[in-house]
């Protein structure tokens, strides 16, 4: 708290003058950057389309109501595929994430100078490339279908799971590891009885959390041909079957909300 003394009176001020100036400067720079960026975007925008958007939205909404309820009979298989992509992708990712997290955590890595940077690079590259881009690549490599989707989700999730898991491993209580080591346990035994029990709840929580995210992600993989409900959504949009589109959107929302609910329940039960 700063107090400015003006002749006789003391006036309470929120901040020191220099701090206040620094904050103003930051706001000024931020605003300038924002205006500059927005101007660049607006140069590439056809504003007539933007002003027309409310009419377009109204028109589209009119075409989407009522949803084509009869179509739901054909959605069973796509939803099953979507759930499979999410679940099997998560399982694959979790299995691969364990050794990577083990190599990336400071306290368990075999080598700080060689192995750890490699593990961290794998984590970052997996995290920075979206599942849809992985799918785009894999569709050209392994062909369209659910299989490409599973691998895409798996590759995308390795980084997320491994990052959270290695942070959990770094936060374990070393005293317990020390105690197991003091009994003469081998390195593998120390891992199995000193480290694994401590990170197991976090591990289960991370897997379920990622599964929940993956359900949402796998709904769109079909747009690039990687199977699931996105495939149907894409074909309905290209054939302008808007009543089917609205039904599918409702189904997606319902699936995502159910997935979130299940994941919250399971995490609550574990932790």
């Amino acid at each position: 708290m700063a107090v400015a003394t003006t002749e006789v009176k003391k006036i309470w001020q929120h901040r020191e003058r220099n701090a206040q100036l620094a904050i103003w400067a930051a706001w000024l720079a931020g605003t300038a950057l924002f205006v500059f960026s927005f101007q660049l975007i607006s140069e590439k925008t056809i504003w007539a389309f933007v002003w027309d958007a409310p009419t377009q939205a109204g028109d589209l909404a009119g075409r989407m109501v009522p949803p084509d309820w009869a179509f739901i009979a054909q959605l069973g298989r796509p939803i099953w595929d979507t759930l499979n992509i999410a679940t099997l992708g998560t399982v694959a990712a979790v299995i691969l994430a364990v050794p990577i997290a083990y190599c990336a955590a400071r306290n368990t890595t075999p080598s700080l100078t060689l192995v750890r940077p490699v593990a961290l690079f794998i984590i970052v590259s997996s995290r920075s490339i979206n599942a849809l881009i992985w799918a785009l690549m894999l569709v050209t490599i392994v062909g369209p279908g659910v299989f490409a989707g599973i691998i895409a989700i798996g590759l995308r999730s390795i980084g997320f799971c491994a990052k959270l898991l290695y942070e959990a491993i770094e936060e374990i209580d070393e005293a317990q590891v020390e105690a197991v080591r003091a009994t003469g346990a081998s390195r593998a035994q120390v891992t199995a009885y000193g480290i694994v029990p401590q990170v197991l709840p976090a591990f289960a929580g991370i897997s379920v959390f990622r599964w929940d995210i993956n359900i949402r992600e796998s709904t769109v993989l079909g747009l690039v041909g990687a199977g699931g409900i996105g495939l149907e959504l894409n074909s309905a949009i290209t054939t302008l079957a808007w009543t089917q589109v609205s039904l599918m959107l409702l189904v997606i929302v319902a699936t995502v909300i159910v997935g979130e609910w299940v994941s919250a329940k399971v995490r609550h039960a574990i932790i």
Binding site: A53, L88, V124, S128, T219
Partner: protein, 268 residues
């Protein structure tokens, strides 16, 4: 004198799930599900085999990636992605503040609470790409649609976390500010805002990072940015250009992650 000898006992690891029937049911359920799921996936192994050379070509394209031949398009796409990221993060956060405050149970009246929670649920349920498809339909191709998509997705993410943070705050300082006779805005600004601010700045930087990554995919459906360039590169089978783009994305994300960690330490 006799020495009491205990029966040698072997210690067994306690099971993860204590109830035996639940353990067996879960295991059985998982096995049945896996069998069903794997049974319905038809992998076209011939196609996979045919694609492998293409995969090898793709991997070899990383050594070396081709930054030069499409450099103009890449530079333009990256620049567009960055502008989109900045504008959409700023607007998304600005819009999510009133919605986040409205979605906090402890300070919002019930009708406002349910309305704001519904907005957040809708925004969070749809993947960015689905939103992008619709916004491209409404606003036409280009970065404007991408910017609207990312802003809308930011509202769901940031608003929900802000609301949860406000719900977890310590009510005492807010109460103290109210006791001085502060108005509602003063109460929010001096009682609530200082408590949530440090975490929210960190989350804002995190969202900036997410928006950049997402800006790479909204382009695939026509929302502008680097995604459009990447999609074109794949369509032309120019894997070396695609590799260059992916490396640039990874580089920028790494840079953002390091600098946001640094900024967060500086702010707190």
């Amino acid at each position: 004198m006799t020495i009491a000898t205990a029966e040698p006992r072997r210690w067994n690891k306690p099971p993860l799930i204590k109830r035996a029937w639940l353990r067996w049911a879960l295991g059985l359920g998982a096995a049945v599900y896996l069998a069903l799921a794997l049974g319905t996936i038809d992998v076209n192994w011939v196609r996979v085999w045919d694609g492998l050379p293409r995969g090898v070509r793709f991997v070899t394209a990383f050594f070396p990636p081709d930054f030069t031949s499409r450099w103009d398009e890449i530079a333009e796409g990256i620049a567009e992605s960055i502008w989109m990221t900045i504008v959409s993060t700023a607007i998304g956060i600005a819009l999510s503040i009133p919605i986040g405050i409205g979605a906090a149970r402890n300070i919002a009246p019930a009708p406002v609470y349910y309305f704001c929670r519904a907005v957040l649920a809708v925004s969070r349920s749809f993947q960015e790409v689905i939103l992008a498809i619709f916004f491209v339909k409404l606003f036409g191709f280009g970065p404007f649609a991408g910017f609207v998509t990312l802003s809308f997705a930011t509202i769901g993410f940031y608003g929900k976390l802000l609301a949860e943070d406000i719900e977890d705050m310590d009510p005492a300082p807010a109460e103290a500010v109210r006791a001085t006779g502060a108005g509602w805005l003063q109460w929010i600004n001096y009682g609530v805002q200082p408590q949530v601010m440090p975490r929210m700045i960190g989350l804002g930087l995190y969202r900036l990072d997410i928006n950049f990554r997402e800006s790479a995919v909204v382009g695939i459906v026509g929302g502008g940015g680097i995604g459009a360039t990447l999609n074109t590169a794949f369509d032309r089978y120019e894997f070396d250009s695609a590799a260059a783009i992916l490396l640039i994305i990874i580089g920028i994300v790494m840079l953002a992650e390091y600098s946001s960690g640094y900024l967060r330490r500086w702010v707190q």
